[in-house]
């Protein structure tokens, strides 16, 4: 593992405007190995995600990625943007199945900024699409950001 990778720079409330685009995250094409690693890490061993024959048998046409893996990609984008401890809410709706070879891009836009409960907060909407523009996941988030000193 590379040891010269930097943690992303800190984001302040004053840096964000409504309408800002969140820096997009482009993931490599989905591999069977990633699904194996994700099954082990998450504990979700549903054979739909690990055994190609099961996907064919139950009618989804082959192996499909865990929806939560795609939510994980969006989580990575948000963690890079606001930092790992800034999220207050995060939700997604699963719209489409992801198959091997699909390359997912995560995007988002800031929809609101306000003060609540003693914290400065931003709200935004997020999305994950594949190489054909097909939407896999849509969602929203809320994060608390520090003020610049």
């Amino acid at each position: 593992m590379a040891t010269n990778i930097q943690a992303p720079a800190k984001l302040y409330f004053e840096d964000v405007q409504v309408g800002d685009e969140i820096p997009r995250l482009v993931k490599e094409p989905m591999t069977h190995l990633r699904l194996v690693r994700y099954a082990g890490a998450s504990g979700d061993f549903n054979p739909l995600h690990t055994d190609p024959k099961i996907g064919e048998a139950v009618g989804v046409g082959g192996i499909i990625a865990h929806g939560m893996l795609i939510m994980g990609f969006v989580g990575q984008m948000l963690s890079d943007y606001v930092g790992p401890t800034a999220l207050r809410k995060f939700n997604v709706r699963f719209k489409g199945m992801t198959r091997l070879g699909d390359a997912i891009t995560c995007t988002g836009t800031i929809t609101d900024k306000y003060e609540a409960g003693g914290e400065a907060r931003i709200k935004g909407k997020v999305q994950a699409t594949d190489q054909n523009g097909d939407v896999k996941v849509t969602g929203t988030f809320e994060a608390a950001l520090p003020h610049r000193a």
Partner: protein
């Protein structure tokens, strides 16, 4: 068809200790190489107390922590081979760090059955798991909506 009388029913609590190496493993699986998820030293150098929780780590608490996950589904009258994940929602109420021991209580908060035009049936169920830590402090609410195809 799921058991409608179970709406509002809460299952017995389960507990799980948050582990640094599992956060590392999950971040690796997702492909996030942010060093704070992979070593305590890097996390502390970035100003965190320890390795912070990855945003979708709560899914691990449910699968690895709730050993009765599958039997609870069956108790609700669900065919686990026909489940599709519909929605997932997290409310992060307080920081969660390695070493914290979380207790989760899962409740079936909503459920309905729908009939498609082709005669196929579909159940849509929502569970909520409320987590407290070793100090009895509420730390996380997780809501899962899943669809069970008839």
């Amino acid at each position: 068809m799921f058991d409608k009388s179970k709406i509002g029913h809460s299952f017995a609590p389960f507990s799980i200790e948050v582990e640094r190496c599992k956060i590392h493993e999950l971040a690796l699986a997702i492909g996030d190489d942010n060093p704070v998820y992979h070593s305590r030293e890097a996390a502390q150098a970035a100003g965190y107390r320890d390795v912070p929780m990855f945003p979708t780590a709560p899914t691990m608490f449910s699968f690895w922590g709730n050993t009765h996950n599958l039997s609870q589904m069956t108790e609700l009258g669900i065919n686990v081979m026909r489940i599709l994940h519909g929605e997932e929602e997290y409310e992060y109420l307080a920081p969660i760090y390695p070493g914290d021991v979380l207790t989760g209580v899962t409740t079936l908060i909503d459920g309905k059955s729908r009939q498609g035009k082709d005669g196929s049936s579909m159940d849509i169920l929502t569970t909520e798991t409320r987590y407290t830590n070793q100090n009895n402090q509420p730390v996380l609410n997780a809501r899962t909506t899943f669809v069970v195809r008839g």
